[in-house]
């Protein structure tokens, strides 16, 4: 019974997230659901379910069409990491929800290159999946846009549908993008821009900042573009140092230390991902400098939305991060694949999930959400 409640709970959440198009509707739905959970009436729950997303008759219709079909999906990111694990857990949640509701079965394979961003390795994996007649592949790659289109074209010809996740789709013309849908977020305006705005607002538009940047590639390009757009409004906020951290804490920590030795009079450090921002926070502490306390000190901001990042925000180490909706990307990817593969519904070419700047003032909800996703067992 307790397990059952938990499943229903996750379904409730999924509806809230997936249908969160209207703010008022979402709020009403969430309030209703929380009231219902407290009462824990199965009947009332069913009523809420129908209001938010279809009734028993509709579910039966969908279930009949699905007819217990198994969808074989391959999931590959540029590297194994906490971030891609969160995305995968979002996918687990949605797969389990659809299995419960519609009787669909999932044959899920995960693979990531051993070496960070080894594109050749990743392409080989995709080709092996295509040869093995996978229904769909979900790809996030550091590979060059045009060369990946050739890989996707081959997959298409062999009958495997390609979906991309977590890619800065805004960088490329939509009509040349062969992926059926790109589930991600706008790296320019929903990440880089937000980080720049946050720093500017906290510092009153004035100060000196450092950048610790990742490997040169499409993510770093897109985020930098967004940062520049944000900073254009604040000429007195200057980037006084910009060095590479290659997405790893080790290198970012050293780079931040060296830059802070040169000039400790810094107001903010933007690490292009959370590992690097955490490295910068450690550098600040190791040098005995003051982390941001709300009015004074050095701001550190990253981007990802990891459990470890949220916990570091709670502990007052890292100031803020841009949560790029890892869990929602996973859930939305499965949603897209399901309705496209079985019902032929056409998804938007670019589906951006919501992102948010998370700091000490609002960390509870995103942390609780990630904790929930990570508690969902593997499929």
């Amino acid at each position: 019974m307790a397990d059952n409640d938990k499943t229903e709970g996750s379904n409730g959440l999924s509806r809230r997230r997936l249908l969160g198009t209207g703010v008022a509707g979402t709020a009403v739905g969430a309030t209703m659901l929380s009231g219902i959970f407290n009462a824990s009436h199965a009947l009332a729950q069913e009523a809420a379910t129908s209001l938010i997303w279809g009734d028993a008759a509709w579910r039966k219709t969908v279930t009949d069409i699905v007819a217990g079909r198994t969808l074989t999906v391959g999931f590959t990111g540029p590297a194994a990491s906490e971030f891609y694990d969160e995305i995968e857990h979002g996918a687990f949640a949605q797969m389990r929800a659809y299995s419960d509701m519609f009787g669909v079965k999932w044959n899920w394979t995960y693979a990531s290159p051993q070496e960070h961003q080894d594109i050749n390795d990743q392409v080989n994996t995709i080709e092996a999946w295509v040869t093995n007649r996978y229904d769909a592949v979900l790809v996030c790659t550091a590979g060059d846009f045009e060369s990946m289109q050739n890989v996707y074209a081959k997959a298409e010809a062999a009958g495997t549908r390609v979906f991309q996740f977590n890619m800065p789709a805004e960088l490329w013309p939509e009509d040349q993008n062969r992926a059926i849908s790109n589930i991600g977020y706008n790296n320019t305006m929903q990440a880089g821009y937000l980080a720049g705005r946050y720093i500017a607002e906290k510092l009153g538009g004035k100060g000196k900042m450092l950048l610790i940047w990742g490997l040169p590639g499409h993510w770093s390009t897109a985020r930098r573009k967004g940062l520049d757009i944000a900073l254009a409004e604040y000429p007195e906020l200057q980037i006084v140092g910009e060095q590479r951290g290659d997405y790893v804490r080790d290198k970012a920590l050293n780079a931040a230390m060296n830059l802070l030795q040169r000039d400790p009079n810094i107001n903010a450090i933007y690490g292009e991902n959370e590992e690097m921002a955490l490295g910068a926070s450690q550098a600040i502490q190791a040098l005995g400098l003051k982390p941001w306390d709300g009015t004074d000190g050095i701001i550190t901001i990253g981007a990802d939305g990891l459990k470890s990042g949220y916990e570091s925000i709670q502990q007052g180490q890292m100031t803020a991060t841009v949560s790029v909706g890892a869990v929602d990307q996973g859930r939305q990817s499965i949603d897209t694949i399901f309705w496209n593969l079985i019902f032929g519904q056409v998804p938007p070419k670019v589906f951006n999930v919501r992102t948010q700047v998370v700091d000490k003032s609002n960390v509870e909800e995103p942390l609780a959400y990630v904790n929930w996703a990570l508690s969902v067992p593997k499929v």
């Binding site: 194994a80 990491s81 906490e82 140092g241 060296n258 030795q261 040169r262 590992e275 450690q282 470890s308």
Partner: protein, 342 residues
């Protein structure tokens, strides 16, 4: 190709010029001279480079390269190469972190982590000496296996929540003497102990003999297989020491932790005058090599050099350093030869 470490009659007693010649023939001396000239020039552009805080910072960062480079140097002197260093750093850091999270006392956790590194070294040594697999291939395979184990073990998610107060000190996140951190003193101790062992016992000569000519070494009563085993065990253990400290420095063990260190340590060892053909190398050279690599990275950061140039600059300086070392060696040999013919 090899220099004489033992002074010959012609080397002694010929005054300052000869002493200089002898000194610059030492592994790493050329690059040391380069560094001594290079730093003041750099500091003209970035005066912050020579500030006390930055110099301490350089030392604090350098030791994480230096310690595995000491191991790499032993392996290279004895005629091998150890590509598994980076993976051992990651895996042993993972062992320490994992044991701490399950409540094993810190000294035990650290000891077991170092033993695990030594065991990987022993496996490398066995595969190379017993199964006769070439060093490069055996350690390349171990590089993949050890890294893969860490990925399977962590499932791609870093180990976290193992940091106690003491571990901040071990990781060098707190300064203990002035602006220096504990890893600096660990490295210094290791450097002195290893130098002593190689100078004052027969070990040094045995490593060099094995690396120069294993067959000849055998004939003179040395057991090259044992010496090689010892070299790989030392390399594994030293990489593990680094891994334990790096786990403290980074406060999480990412499954990719330490990757790339194998190439940095090879670069540092070679810049320090270790010859990949075996038989030549020194710990003080390793120190100079590691120092040079760290200073370059520090200078790139402080001068705020555009990041796309980073790899080009580091690569070029490595090449330059090796050429300088070779030139210094030639100069030293040339001098000796002239004296010998007198």
């Amino acid at each position: 190709m090899r220099t004489r470490e033992v002074p010959t009659p012609s080397d002694t007693g010929f005054g300052a010029t000869e002493t200089f010649r002898r000194l610059i023939g030492r592994p790493g001396a050329g690059i040391f001279l380069f560094l001594v000239c290079f730093l003041p020039i750099l500091s003209l552009f970035a005066p912050q480079m020579l500030q006390e805080g930055n110099l301490a910072g350089i030392l604090n960062q350098m030791v994480f390269i230096l310690i595995p480079t000491l191991g790499m140097t032993i392996v290279i002197i004895s005629g091998g190469i150890d590509l598994s260093v980076g993976s051992v750093i990651g895996l042993s850091g993972g062992v320490a972190a994992f044991l701490l999270t399950v409540g094993v006392p810190m000294p035990v956790a650290i000891l077991l982590a170092i033993i695990s590194g030594a065991m990987i070294g022993a496996i490398n040594g066995l595969v190379i000496t017993r199964l006769k697999v070439p060093d490069f291939v055996a350690t390349l395979a171990m590089m993949g296996v050890a890294r893969g184990i860490l990925y399977v073990w962590t499932n791609g998610i870093p180990f976290r929540d193992y940091m106690g107060d003491a571990y901040y000190i071990i990781g060098g996140l707190r300064m203990i003497v002035g602006k220096l951190t504990l890893p600096v003193f660990v490295a210094l101790a290791l450097l002195l102990i290893l130098t002593f062992l190689l100078r004052r016992t027969h070990l040094g000569a045995h490593f060099r003999a094995t690396g120069s000519n294993a067959e000849a070494a055998k004939l003179s009563g040395i057991r090259p297989d044992r010496i090689k085993m010892l070299a790989y065990i030392a390399s594994g253990a030293l990489a593990a020491v680094t891994g334990v400290m790096l786990a403290g420095r980074l406060t999480t063990v990412h499954p990719a932790m330490g990757s790339g260190y194998e190439l940095e340590t090879i670069a540092a060892a070679v810049m320090g005058g270790a010859a990949l053909s075996g038989g030549r190398g020194s710990f003080w050279g390793a120190l100079v090599g590691a120092l040079t690599l760290t200073v370059i990275q520090n200078a790139i950061n402080i001068l705020n050099i555009e990041s796309t140039w980073e790899n080009v600059i580091i690569g070029s300086i490595i090449l330059f350093a090796v050429l300088i070392d070779r030139a210094a060696m030639a100069l030293s040999r040339g001098g000796s030869r002239r004296n010998a013919s007198n």
